[in-house]
């Protein structure tokens, strides 16, 4: 087996189109996971409904992402919800990872010292300021590294969108490889791309951690 440079260069343009989908799915899915996870972490604190949300998230965490993707892709249209593969993929990724980020936020919120709550109370601060200006800023700074890990984990899960026909990078590589039965170059390029994005992302989060964790 030899490395064919010509074939590699031919692969690049279509692969980059696939990369576009991969990046888009990751960024949108992650933003959704950050927002929905925070909402879940807050709702979980409410009496009554919080318990229900906890079990839903527990269910999401204990079933495979691929199963959830198939469920969303094949079953939602049956109940009249028709979404494009990409939108389905982003929402499923986002909600799946929200189940994890919610736990991260929760630990961050619980890590805010009791004295902060007591000082807020002693100063008669309204609830929206206690959360918005004191508790959440401190909680989020502490969990930046953990949130960063989930970004990278989610990024590495995007090839699963292949299964619901999103034309992301892996599906492109698979298709092009199958035309000539040459997978070596295509799959190597996919792997290389993941490294090229994951490593700088990890470094970025390490920088953010140093910058903001010193609360």
């Amino acid at each position: 087996m030899t490395w064919d440079w010509q074939f590699t260069f031919d692969l690049l343009p279509p692969l980059l189109v696939g990369v576009g989908y991969t990046v888009q799915a990751t960024v949108l899915g992650y933003l959704l996971a950050l927002a929905a996870g925070l909402a879940v972490a807050l709702i979980r604190r409410l009496p009554g409904i919080g318990r229900g949300v906890f079990w839903v998230m527990e269910f999401i965490r204990s079933t495979p992402l691929l199963v959830q993707l198939f469920l969303a892709f094949y079953v939602l249209p049956d109940v009249g919800i028709v979404l494009s593969p990409m939108v389905t993929g982003v929402i499923t990724l986002g909600i799946h990872y929200a189940a994890y980020t919610a736990e991260v936020y929760r630990s961050g919120i619980e890590g805010v010292p009791r004295g902060q709550w007591e000082a807020s109370r002693a100063l008669s601060l309204p609830r929206y300021r206690v959360w918005g200006a004191i508790v959440l800023p401190q909680a989020v700074r502490k969990v930046i590294p953990a949130l960063g890990n989930y970004l990278i984990a989610m990024f590495k899960d995007t090839p699963l969108l292949f299964a619901i026909t999103v034309p992301e990078m892996l599906s492109v590589a698979q298709r092009l490889g199958s035309q000539q039965f040459r997978y070596f170059e295509a799959m190597t390029m996919v792997g290389l791309f993941f490294v090229l994005v994951s490593v700088p992302s990890a470094l970025l989060f390490r920088y953010l951690e140093r910058r903001y964790a010193a609360v």
């Binding site: 007591e118 000082a119 109370r121 002693a122 008669s124 601060l125 300021r129 200006a133 401190q138 700074r141």
Partner: protein, 273 residues
Amino acid sequence: MQQSDGFEAMAPEAGTAGRPFINFDRVVKRYGDNVVLRELDFAVTAGERVTLIGPSGSGKTTILRLLMTLERVDGGVIWVDGEPLSHVYKDGRLMSAGEKHMRRIRRKIGMVFQQFNLFPNMSVRRNVTEAPVHALGLSRDEADQRAEELLDMVGLGEKIDQHPTQLSGGQQQRVAIARALAMRPEILLLDEVTSALDPELVSGVLDVLREIAENTDITMLCVTHEMQFAKDVSHRVLMFDHGQVVEEGTPERIFNDPREDRTRSFLKAVVEA
């Protein structure tokens, strides 16, 4: 003692000295099986400065925490300025009050904590202006002006744009005092405010509190182990043990001529420490 400006900024609206301002009426507080306060009765008049002393676990800090509504009473009623603190009248009976009622009464009370509890994600300025802006509805400018006056008064005017983490413990505690006073409370609760400080930083904090005591008629409830400070600022000292007042009197009387054995042995232990 030099700047009097700061004091005008925080002169409490409490006026008429002598009326009962804080009243504990058979107050009970338990933590599980542990009874911390047993049917405690005591009153503080407006403008009075009272120091609570006693062994740890005697319920002193609990009294401050109940007043600040950080804890709820398990029995009895606390009255503040003629109103029940954590109760409301409903059909002629006293019922447990909701958050709204407590928030209104709480506004008369400020507290300084042993561990300062400054907000580490905010500058010193924001620490002091946050509550005046968002709880009292002051404009940014008004709140800023108030913060500058108070920080000057505690000797930290030049630190206004720093972060709490850049300050020493004593400086942080002085910011915490300014933060509490920025709400212009009528009652100031001081919970072992020097206990977490290195010895050389204690006097700076106590000097600030002495100034406040001298120049305002703010009602003060103070839990401390600094006996000289207690002597200097308080009108009255209450000795607590097992959730009850064992002995009370002027600081001179309590420190020079304690009548109860428990007071004597406590004071002896504190002096030797």
